[in-house]
């Protein structure tokens, strides 16, 4: 009789079956492993860049967002932003930046868990990692919008620069600045990780679905016939 736990984690692969079809069972685990590595490595790469160009900054100003910190000309950009009454960038997404590494580590472990769960519930474990890139965009947009729309009305240039939503991807402009924003390598690694997980599930299902079906069939055969 299958327990609730067995239903949850799905059937185990019998030794002889694993030996016979090693590749079939290793593939999903390997792809998940790749996804996890990509996700982990993404911590060390920038997720998002913005370059600001203006005549008096011939070398441009740069803003680089890692999942847990901001680098680049933050100080200078904050200095300029004070003219239009925008709050310092350091005040944005403070929780997200503090939690991101832990969240990524948690996703790392959950995806590892997904490799050991051979039922459809594995998808649930991997869901945070799959949706992470979209959540990142949503969060970035939220903060940009919040900051852009809540300018201090007493700022020096508040009469000439009205509240606006900065462009988070592609070309935008504010005052004499042109802004160019794009995702960084870290973001694409996270996207790659999510894509790997989706592909991994194809092989996951291909490997474990027959076992589940067989187990169900066996259970049906062994079960006493209802009268």
């Amino acid at each position: 009789m299958t327990t609730f736990l067995e239903t949850l984690i799905g059937p185990r692969v019998p030794e002889h079956e694993f030996r016979a079809h090693r590749v079939r069972y290793i593939t999903p685990t390997a792809i998940f492993m790749t996804a996890r590595v990509l996700l982990l490595v993404s911590i060390f790469f920038p997720y998002w860049h913005m370059e600001l160009e203006a005549p008096q900054y011939p070398n441009g100003l740069f803003l680089t967002a890692y999942c847990n910190h901001l680098t680049g000309d933050v100080r200078e950009i904050d200095g300029l932003n004070h003219y239009i009454g925008m709050r310092p960038l350091g005040e944005a997404a403070a929780f997200e930046r503090a939690a991101s590494v832990w969240m990524i580590l948690a996703m790392f472990l959950l995806v590892e868990g997904a490799a050991f769960v051979h039922s459809r519930w594995a998808v649930l474990l991997a869901l945070p990692a799959i949706t992470f890139p979209i959540a990142f965009i949503a969060d970035l947009y939220y903060w940009m919008r919040t900051f852009g729309l809540s300018l201090d009305p007493n700022a020096p240039l508040s009469s000439s620069v009205k509240p606006f939503v900065p462009t988070i991807i592609g070309e935008g402009g504010i005052g004499q600045f042109r802004t160019y924003a794009e995702f960084g390598a870290g973001y694409w690694l996270a996207v790659g990780g999510a894509a790997c997980i989706v592909v991994g599930f194809f092989f996951h299902r291909r490997a474990y679905r027959p076992l589940t079906l067989r187990a169900d069939a066996d259970a049906a055969v062994r079960a006493p016939v209802a009268t």
Binding site: T27, L38, F45, H49, P58, P156
Partner: protein, 700 residues
């Protein structure tokens, strides 16, 4: 079963592909560049140009209208810098009586900036930080403010005989001082005053690793600011050369490890340190070996005649490594608190030798390999070339032609002379290139002479060794000259500057006081081709000597490394006010103002103090963007600061004149620059006494 077996076969290559893709994503160069946070920018590409017939016609028309010949067009093409293009070399020039140093780009000859050394200068805020300005303090001599200098010879710091771009030294002839400039922020860090002598000439010259900065004297005096009548000249007056010990890690001269060498009262002139073959020696010229004391008013021959009477003066040959040992062995005496190796010590220790040189010469310049010392005749149409091998041999063999009145051995002229080369009238100074040529300025001929070196240089050029090759006229009265890194162990052979003293008709007339003329010569082609390609008027002092360094050797800071940087100590200053830390505090009549400057406001904007308060005012420019410089001035109190990004400055004054004083930012820092101001309220004593006595108030 067969079916399921077949499926995983194509999964294997797919998995490999995925893994490969993932690793590519990690190591793609683009990703790495992005990680730097700096996208690579496309720089304007210099494509080979083709001039169309139409453009040629246009060029010809302009040239004819402006009366330019083809040589002029070529000269323009060699020197013109399009907007945004950087010069290849930086010329550090003495600013003469302006007391400053000028930095000029070569080949464009555009003035990049001046660096204040001996003269307070308001734009740089140099010497305008109130009563306690350390700059003002460093410009005092015997308690007197001496607010100018006659800057003469700049010397770039060297490592193994080559410019390293770290420091610049400059001598003040009028007051026997030496300035030390740090080339990270291009600011003067130290001024040392020679306590032995009133004036000097041969400063500054560095030893090949900048262990010492050499300062040769000039007009003999009684060392240590002493007095003796001219009748006692021979007995009491002395010359000297000083070895200033440079501490590279501190970026300062260490006066306690420095010493001087007493010399006979001949007027020492220029100096140069030996290198490579002649490392361990330095050489100083002299004139007035006659020890003439002038007195034209008494019917005596004037100095100009008396000091030029003999046929020979003395090239001083100093073994400075031996001198250093003698100093370290405690063989120096103190004069006016400064260590001096006395003449008898130098003679006994084999530190000092003389070699005869044609009378009243000017520069002594060592060839890049250190083999030869070239002495320019000034009053003699030759340069006299000495060989270090022959000098060493003559010293070893004691090949003396005699001793001077003070007992200094004089090496036999013929034993140490390599050759004499006739160049023309008034040879003064010599520099070198990488093609085996030397270049000597001819003051009276108003020309630059190119001549061929011999010895190991003979194979580098097509000419006979030790021969005049070309004389290019310059306008006019050339003093020093300077080729690109032309006094190092590896000259570049690229450009040459003629520091022409008179410009006469070269520029528009600017009243009776005319600018000097820095002329740029193209010395790239060998042989007789050596045209003047640019004239550059210098209308701020009479520069004396300059050195030209490859621009990429300079590792200048774009902004100060940390916010709160004190340029005097070249370190972060614990007193620098931080953002949020501003305010005004009082202790009795002592007031401390802590202020920050950031586009476009000072914090605080109102400072309220009382008449008679002694104010210490600290400002940090909490800026980090390149060129976001602020100024700060208080009218009527002689205060103006230059607050470069990150810079911290402290100034102080006594608020002795009450009133309402606007202070403002003196650099056009931003669109709201005019709004970057505030008020200093100095309450009159009458208004203060009617109020209760304040103790400590934090206005913030």
């Amino acid at each position: 079963m067969k079916n399921t077996n077949a499926r995983p076969r194509f999964t294997r290559p797919l998995a490999v592909l995925l893994a490969a893709g993932a690793s590519l994503a990690c190591f793609a160069p683009d990703a790495m560049a992005q990680q730097e946070g700096r996208r690579r920018r496309a720089t304007a590409e210099a494509k080979p140009i083709e001039i169309t017939a139409e453009q040629t016609a246009m060029l010809t028309k302009i040239a004819n209208e402006r009366k330019l010949n083809v040589d002029d067009l070529l000269a323009a093409a060699k020197t013109y810098m399009p907007s945004g293009r950087h010069d290849e070399y930086v010329l550090f020039s003495s600013g003469g009586q302006s007391g400053q140093v000028f930095a000029i780009g070569v080949p464009s000859m555009r003035l990049l900036r001046s660096i204040s050394v001996f003269t307070p200068e308001s734009w740089q805020g140099y010497g305008f930080a109130g009563d306690s300005d350390p700059v003002r303090k460093s410009l005092e001599i015997n308690g007197k403010p001496v607010l100018w200098g006659d800057t003469h010879h700049p010397a770039l710091s060297e490592t193994a005989g080559d410019y390293d771009g770290q420091f610049l030294f400059i001598g003040d002839k009028a007051n026997a001082r030496l300035g030390v400039i740090d080339l990270r922020d291009w600011e003067t860090k130290q001024i040392v005053k020679n306590p032995l002598t009133v004036s000097d000439h041969g400063a500054a010259f560095v030893t090949p690793n900048t262990d010492y900065v050499i300062e040769g004297g000039q007009y003999a005096t009684v060392l240590g600011y002493g007095y003796a009548p001219p009748e006692d000249y021979k007995k009491s007056y002395r010359g000297m050369v000083t070895m200033w010990k440079f501490d590279r890690t501190k970026g300062r001269i260490d006066e306690s490890q420095s010493f001087a060498i007493e010399l006979p009262p001949y007027w020492q002139d220029l100096a140069d340190a030996g290198k490579l073959a002649s490392d361990g020696f330095f050489f100083v010229n002299s004139f007035n070996a006659e020890m003439a004391t002038g007195g034209v008013e008494k019917g005596n021959p004037p100095f100009e005649a008396g000091a030029s009477k003999r046929d020979m003066d003395y090239l001083h040959i100093v073994d400075w490594k031996k001198a250093e040992s003698a100093f370290k062995a405690g063989k120096a005496q103190k004069i006016n608190g400064f260590s001096v190796l006395m003449l008898d010590t130098s003679i006994a220790e084999g530190i000092l030798y003389f070699a005869p040189e044609p009378k009243s010469p000017h520069g002594v310049d060592v060839t890049p390999n250190g083999q030869y010392m070239v002495v320019a005749g000034k009053l003699d149409p030759h340069v006299t070339v000495y060989s270090i091998d022959k000098i060493k041999k003559a010293i070893a063999d004691k090949k003396y032609s005699g001793k001077d009145d003070y007992g200094v051995p004089i090496l036999d002229f013929d034993a140490v002379k390599e050759v004499q080369v006739e160049l023309g009238l008034g040879p003064l100074h010599t520099q070198f290139d990488n093609k085996g040529y030397a270049y000597t300025s001819l003051f009276l001929d108003s020309a630059v002479a190119r001549w061929s070196l011999g010895g190991e240089y003979a194979s580098q050029h097509a000419e006979q060794p030790w021969k005049l090759v070309q004389k290019t006229p310059v306008q006019y009265n050339i003093g020093h000259l300077c080729s690109a890194e032309g006094d190092t162990v590896s000259p570049d052979g690229n450009y040459l500057i003629s520091m022409s003293k008179w410009s006469v008709d070269r520029f528009l007339t600017t009243g009776p006081l005319l600018p000097q003329n820095f002329q740029l010569l193209d010395i790239v082609q060998p042989g007789t081709t050596m045209p003047v390609i640019y004239d550059s008027p210098i209308g701020v002092g009479e520069p004396h000597y300059c050195q030209m360094i490859k621009a990429d050797k300079l590792k200048s800071w774009q902004v100060y490394p940390q916010v709160g940087w004190n340029p005097h100590s070249q370190a972060l200053d614990p007193n620098a006010p931080k953002k949020g830390d501003e305010g005004v505090t009082r202790d009795g009549n002592k007031v401390l103002v802590k202020m920050t400057a950031l586009r476009s406001h000072f914090t605080p904007e109102h400072v309220e103090i009382n008449e008679g308060d002694v104010v210490t005012w600290r400002i940090t420019a909490i800026e980090t963007a390149q060129d976001a410089t602020h100024g700060f001035c208080i009218g009527g109190y002689n205060i103006n600061l230059s607050l470069e990004p990150g810079e911290y400055t402290e100034f102080s004054f006594t608020a002795d004149k009450p009133g309402t004083y606007p202070f403002y930012c003196t650099e056009f820092c931003s669109a709201l620059h005019l709004e970057m101001m505030g008020y200093l309220h100095i309450k009159p004593k009458s208004a203060v006494s009617s109020q209760p006595v304040e103790t400590t108030t934090a206005l913030k």
